[in-house]
Symmetry: C2
Subunit: 428 residues, 2 copies
C-alpha cells in the first residue's frame, strides 16, 4: 500500500476547508467539458477538475508508461485494468503535478487554462462501463430489521445469513450517474385485501443507502480469487442509491429474488475514490461469530470508517437529513464479497460493480431505507415544509454522501443525488 | 415479416438432407478461420460457413448500405443494432448470393475459396457481447414440478406465477459458447442433518434446457416497450444450457434468489437463428387463464414449434437422450417477457440475452433438468455403459439441440455442448 504520498502536502489549487476533494483524495471520474465535447477522464481537486486527457497528451504522465490515450476514453475501464503498481504511479505523478511546490503546471497559465476546469462548468458521466452489477445484503442490522418486519423477531435472520455474504445479480444497464432523474416505475402489485394483482405506478418507492466497489482486472472463468488476493482487485468505491419499489418487490420476489422492483435505476456518485486514498481510514471490520468457513477467513479483516448520510428534499422545500450511518458497520467485507462471488469460478471483470446492500447502523437514525426509517410506513417522516413521507413522492430529491475524517485529514465521495419524476404516462 | 424468401430454393453449396442449416436458415455466428486469425461474422450453410467479412469487403452487400466493417467485428452487436428492415435486406442479399441459379459466387472459384470455409475448419466464438443476461421461469410444467418437490402438490405454483413472467438477473460474464468445458463449481452447501454448512465441490450439478433470445436495439431508460412492439426487438434465438448447482442453490437462494448456484457458467449454441427464419414454424402459445393484465395481452400470441432434446454422455460411453421437449410448451411468450422486463422503464440493449427458464413438457421424458428427470435423485438414469446418474459426474458431456420441421422444411440450431471438468484443485 502506498506510503509515498503525504496527506499534509498542500496544492496550488485552492481547496475549501470543507471540500471532499483535498489533494490527497484525487478521485477519478469521466466528464465532458462542454455539451459537444468528447468524454474524457479527470480527477477532482477542490472545486476543479483536472483533465487527464490533456495532462497525458502533454507527456506529463509519461513516466507511468500508459498505453496511448488511456484517459482519452468515455470510461475509466482501460485505466482500471492496468496493474495496481502502474495505477499507483499515476496517482503519484498527478499528486506531484498539483503540489504547491511544483511549478510545471502551477506556472504554466496556458496549460492550466486547458486542463484545470471549474467543476461547476463540466458535466459528469458514468465513470465506468459496468458489465455486471452485483448487489449484496451485508448489513446485519438491515437484514435483521427487514427480517423482523416480514418474519418476526425470532426468525429475523435467514439461516444462511451469518455463513455467507448473501447477494444477487442486479441490472447493469440501468446503473446511472448522480443527477439522473428517476422515472417512477410501473409494475404489478397486489393490495393486501385483493385476490388478483393490478398494474400501475409503484406507490412504495424507496431508497437504499449503499456503497459499491469497482473491480480492477479479470480472473479467468473457473479460477477463484482468494479472500486475501481480493484487495488487489478493488479499484475504488462510490456511494450507491439502490432505488427500490417495495410493492413490486413484495409481489414478484418469490422464489427468484428482486427483479422489476430494482431494474429501473441504481444511481452512483460520479467520483471513484481509490482504495489507496481510503487507506488512512482503514479500520477493523466487526467480529464474526460463528467464524466463517476457511475460504472467507481474512488475514487482515479490513474495512473503512466512512460516515454516510441521506438527505430527503421535497419540491420547494429544504432538505432534511433522515439518516446518518457508517460503512464500517457492515458484517461482510468487500474482500469476503469478492472471494465468495468467485469461489464458484465466476469471472469478475474490470468495471464490475459490487454493492454492499443497504447500510443500516444499530440505532434508529442510522437506518438506510425508508422502509426501516418509517418502519413500514408506521412512523412517517415529517419534512421541514410540513410534508409527510412514508415513501417517495414525485418531485422528491434524495442525496446521499460519504465522508472520512481522521487526524485532521478530511475527504469525501461528493454525493449521489436523484429526483423522482412521475411515472411514464402511457402506463398510468 | 419476410415473404420474399422461398424456402424451397436450393443452394449451389451442398446441404446434407439432415442438416440444420439449409439455405433458408442462414443463422449468424462469430468465428475465426484459423487460430491466429481475427474474429468475424459468418452464416452457416450445410457444412460450410460463409465469411461475411469477405463478402462485405467485396461489395456484395453494398445494396444494404451497411456501415463499413459491420461484419469485420468480434461480435454481431453492430449488425444487430441496425433497423430490422436493413437486417432483412442483408438476409435477402446473402440468400441471393448462395442460390443455385446465381453465378456471382458460384462461378468464382477464388472468391469461393476465400469465403466458403468448411465448418469443421473454423472455431466458433461468442456471437454477441452480452451486456445483461436475464433468465425467466416461464415453463408452467417446470415451475409446477419444482414446486411439488419443495412445497407439495397443493402449493406448487407461487401465487404470482400465473400473473407475471417471473425472472431474475443472471451473470452475463460467464455466458460461454458451446464447446467450452465447465469447471465443477465449489461453494457452500449444508447436509440435510448438519447444523452448519461446509465448503467444497458441488455434488448436485445439474443442467437446465432453455432457449434464449438476443435483443436488437435499445429503449431509453424510463421508456417501456409494449408487448406488441416487442417482436421488433427480438433478433433471433439460441439454445441455452443454464448449468445449476442444486446444493449451492438450496442453501443460498433465500431471500434474494440464485447467485453462486448459477454464476459459474451458462452455455449457448453458437448460431443465432433469426426470427425471420423461424416464422414458418410460428404457432399459437398456450391459452392463459387467468387472462393477464392488459400490458401483457398480445394481439398475436405467437411462439414457435421447436423440438428440443438433451443427450447425456459419460466419458468413454455412448450418448443417451434423456429429454425430448418443445419450446411451444412455454406459458409466457418472448414478447410478454420483454414487455414485462421493460414495464418499469428498464432499458434493454442490443445483445442482451433473455432466456426462457427450464423448458419442461407435460410428460415424463420431456423434463428439462436432471432434478426433474431423476425426481430429486429418487429415479436415477442408467447410461448405456451402465453408469448411474442422479446428477452430473466429472467427464460427463451434455448436448442440447433444437430443430423445426414443417411442410418438408427442416432447420435447426445446431447444438450447445459442454463437458464437466473436476473442481478447481485449490478449493477441493
Amino acid at each position: 500500500m502506498p506510503t509515498a504520498i503525504d496527506p499534509k502536502v498542500p496544492s496550488f489549487v485552492p481547496v475549501p476547508a470543507a471540500s471532499h476533494f483535498p489533494l490527497y483524495n484525487l478521485p477519478y471520474g469521466i466528464f465532458s467539458p462542454a455539451p459537444t465535447a468528447s468524454l474524457r477522464a479527470g480527477v477532482r481537486i477542490g472545486d476543479h477538475v483536472l483533465d487527464l486527457s490533456v495532462i497525458e497528451d502533454c507527456g506529463l504522465l509519461a513516466a507511468a508508461g500508459l498505453p496511448p490515450g488511456t484517459f482519452d476514453q468515455p470510461w475509466l475501464n482501460r485505466f482500471m485494468e492496468l496493474p495496481a503498481e502502474q495505477r499507483r504511479l499515476v496517482r503519484l505523478l498527478i499528486h506531484g503535478l498539483l503540489r504547491e511546490d511544483e511549478p510545471t503546471l502551477r506556472d504554466d497559465a496556458t496549460l492550466r487554462a486547458r486542463s484545470l476546469l471549474p467543476a461547476s462548468s463540466v458535466t459528469m458521466h458514468m465513470p465506468v462501463m459496468i458489465r455486471d452489477y452485483t448487489d449484496f445484503y451485508s448489513s446485519r442490522e438491515h437484514a435483521t430489521n427487514v427480517g423482523i418486519m416480514f418474519r418476526g423477531k425470532e426468525n429475523a435472520l435467514m439461516p444462511n445469513w451469518l455463513h455467507l455474504p448473501v447477494g444477487y445479480h442486479g441490472r447493469a444497464s440501468s446503473v446511472v450517474v448522480s443527477g439522473t432523474d428517476i422515472v417512477r416505475p410501473c409494475g404489478q402489485t397486489i393490495a393486501p385485501d385483493a385476490a388478483t394483482p393490478s398494474f400501475g405506478p409503484s406507490r412504495l418507492l424507496d431508497i437504499e443507502l449503499e456503497m459499491g466497489f469497482l473491480v480492477a482486472g479479470s480472473n479467468e472463468l473457473g479460477t477463484p480469487v482468494s479472500v486475501d488476493e481480493a484487495w488487489d482487485r478493488i479499484f475504488g468505491m462510490v456511494v450507491v442509491n439502490d432505488w427500490s419499489a417495495r410493492d413490486i418487490q413484495k409481489w414478484e420476489y418469490q422464489p427468484l429474488g428482486p427483479f422489476n422492483a430494482k431494474n429501473f435505476a441504481t444511481s452512483i456518485s460520479p467520483w471513484i475514490v481509490t482504495i489507496d486514498a481510503l487507506m488512512p481510514f482503514a479500520c477493523e471490520a466487526p467480529a464474526q461469530d460463528p467464524e466463517p468457513l476457511p475460504y472467507l477467513r481474512e488475514q487482515d479483516r479490513r474495512t473503512f470508517d466512512i460516515t454516510l448520510s441521506i438527505d430527503l428534499q421535497a419540491e420547494d422545500d429544504e432538505p432534511l437529513t433522515i439518516c446518518r450511518s457508517n460503512f464500517k458497520h457492515l458484517y461482510w467485507t468487500m474482500a469476503q464479497q469478492l472471494a465468495h462471488h468467485t469461489c464458484t469460478g465466476c469471472n469478475l471483470g474490470t468495471g464490475d460493480l459490487l454493492a454492499s446492500g443497504t447500510i443500516s447502523g444499530p440505532d434508529k437514525g442510522s437506518y438506510g431505507s425508508l422502509l426501516e426509517i418509517t418502519w413500514r410506513g408506521t412512523e412517517p417522516v415529517t419534512l421541514p415544509g410540513g410534508g409527510i413521507r412514508k415513501f417517495l413522492a414525485d418531485g422528491d430529491r434524495v442525496t446521499m454522501s460519504g465522508v472520512c475524517e481522521k487526524d485532521g485529514l478530511h475527504l469525501g465521495f461528493g454525493e449521489v443525488t436523484g429526483r423522482i419524476l412521475p411515472a411514464h404516462k402511457d402506463l398510468q
